[in-house]
């Protein structure tokens, strides 16, 4: 009695290779033989062939690099927020933002950072250490008249003080920068994320 059990459908992986012309001679005979007796595989083969034909008929599109998923806008996002991009580029960035979560997140972060900085109370120019010099001069000028008026008295007082104190040395005045410099030098060997290691007073010197 003839064996009516169909041969096992083991040509699935070979059908694609068959369409690609990549089969070895023995494999080709096997595929042809199986396709002659297995309706399921014939159906699958036709579907595969039709799918490939459809793909081949599709027009080849030249996709701009900027529309590829791997591309992200960087500096353009800042210009986009400022409305400084040319119209075409503005449209391109806008289109990209609709599809790219990463760029959209970055745009939101950038916008939030700008908003935060704008909303800071009383943002002052970085003149911190100048402040202690300018008022010095202002106060000195303002008091000049008074200083002249009391000068004679001061001289007299100084004479008396010298007489009383003998050889006492004047108190030394040390500028803040000397200490800051030493701190910064020591801090520079520390690992960390300190963005500017307290160089403000040095950097702000006129």
């Amino acid at each position: 009695m003839a064996d009516l059990t169909p041969a096992p459908c083991d040509i699935g992986e070979l059908m694609s290779a068959y369409l690609d012309g990549e089969l070895q001679p023995g494999e080709l005979d096997h595929v042809v033989e199986h396709l002659g007796e297995c309706t399921d595989c014939i159906l699958e083969f036709r579907q595969l062939k039709e799918a490939r034909a459809t793909v081949r008929t599709l027009p080849r599109l030249e996709v701009p690099e900027r529309l590829l998923p791997s591309f992200h806008f960087g500096p353009e996002l800042s210009a986009y927020l400022d409305g400084e991009l040319p119209t075409e580029e503005q449209t391109l960035v806008f289109g990209h933002l609709q599809a790219c979560d990463e760029c959209r997140d970055e745009l939101h972060e950038l916008d939030a950072a700008r908003t935060a900085i704008r909303s800071l109370p009383g943002l002052e120019p970085p003149v911190l250490l100048d402040v202690h010099r300018e008022p010095h001069r202002a106060r000195w000028q303002g008091r000049r008249g008074r200083v002249v008026a009391v000068a004679a008295g001061a001289v007299a007082a100084a004479v008396i003080a010298v007489g009383v104190a003998g050889n006492s040395a004047p108190e030394p005045t040390i500028d803040l920068d000397s200490f800051t410099n030493q701190h910064v030098a020591r801090a520079s060997v520390e690992a960390g994320f300190t963005v500017i290691p307290a160089v403000g007073p040095v950097g702000l010197e006129p």
């Binding site: 800071l120 943002l123 690992a191 500017i196 950097g203």
Partner: protein, 309 residues
């Protein structure tokens, strides 16, 4: 099946690519690794630093070049790194010896998150101290440079923010004119310090001789750091005319705030100057553990606390 296998292989490669994009390039595991990588980053650019302290803000834009362990600020106004500072206007200082710091175990880091910043792949680190978010650091994945940082006070409010305004992984374009030629003042280690070995989680790492016979104690918890100078009796400190008087635990201190640091001056048995970048709540806790300012009010408050707790 071969088609299916190809599809699977393609899918696997795509998955690998996605995973590779999600995993930070920086070869670091713990927070201290990331901080060390950041310290050795190479980059250039402009960075804005904003500090908000008691409702008042200070801001400054710095041009920075970071090459290895050296940072040059504003085209050579100052150059700091590896234990020395070239201050084009403030002189040179070099410290020949120091002890290595250890990151305090009070800090913990969330799982690093891959993000994008300035159009670049980056890693966002969130540092927590107990229940408080203490800092957020965004490191560039390629260079480990800190692209943005946020530091929070004990109430979880932002008090210092910095971000690169423009960034270049190649610092060369920023190097022009950055050369300086300085003579260095060498600060020698000193064993004498009356200050505590620990102050509110900060360890006194080193002690040096300081300007005008002062004693310099350097404290760190591995994330923030500060110096305290014990000033000889009679020292007059210039530059504090516009310091504001603040009260901490009933004691009065004079305080200056800059975008990148803080200066606190007070007088106890001798005078003290603190310089550093620590958050406001840390500062208050540290001051409470250091010699207290002298004064009538302070004496009364100490007496009150002594009697009634």
């Amino acid at each position: 099946m071969r088609a299916l296998r190809r599809l699977i292989v393609t899918a696997a490669l795509t998955t690998l690519a996605v995973v590779a994009a999600a995993v930070p390039v920086i070869a670091a595991e713990g927070l201290d690794d990331y901080l060390r990588e950041a310290e050795e980053a190479e980059y250039g650019g402009r960075r804005i630093v904003v500090t908000v302290w008691d409702g008042e803000s200070r801001a400054e834009v710095f041009t920075v070049i970071h090459t290895g362990d050296t940072m040059t600020v504003n085209g050579g106004e100052s150059r700091v790194g590896y234990g020395k500072l070239d201050g084009a206007l403030g002189g040179g200082v070099v410290i020949p010896e120091w002890s290595s710091s250890v990151l305090s175990d009070r800090y913990a880091m969330d799982q690093p998150e891959a993000v994008r910043r300035l159009g670049r792949d980056a890693v966002r680190l969130v540092v927590r101290e107990g229940d408080v978010k203490r800092a957020t650091i965004v490191l560039d994945a390629e260079t480990s440079a800190p692209l943005a940082t946020e530091v929070y006070d004990g109430a979880g409010d932002l008090f210092r923010y910095s971000t690169m305004l423009d960034f270049d992984a190649n610092p060369a374009p920023y190097l022009a004119g950055a050369e300086t030629d300085e003579e260095y003042e060498v600060m020698l280690p000193s064993a004498a310090s009356s200050l505590p070995a620990n102050a509110s989680g900060y360890r006194r790492a080193d002690t040096y001789s300081g300007p005008n016979d002062s004693v310099h104690a350097f404290y760190t918890d591995g994330l923030f750091y500060f110096s305290i100078f014990e000033l000889p009796e009679g020292t007059r400190l210039g530059g504090l005319d516009d310091a504001v008087v603040v009260e901490v635990d009933g004691n009065e201190y004079r305080r200056l705030v800059a975008p990148d640091g803080i200066w606190v001056y007070w007088e106890a048995k001798t005078a003290y100057l603190l310089v550093g970048d620590l958050p406001p709540d840390h500062l208050e806790q540290v001051l409470e553990e250091l010699p207290q300012p002298k004064g009538k009010g302070n004496f009364i408050s100490r007496l009150w606390r002594g009697i009634f707790g």
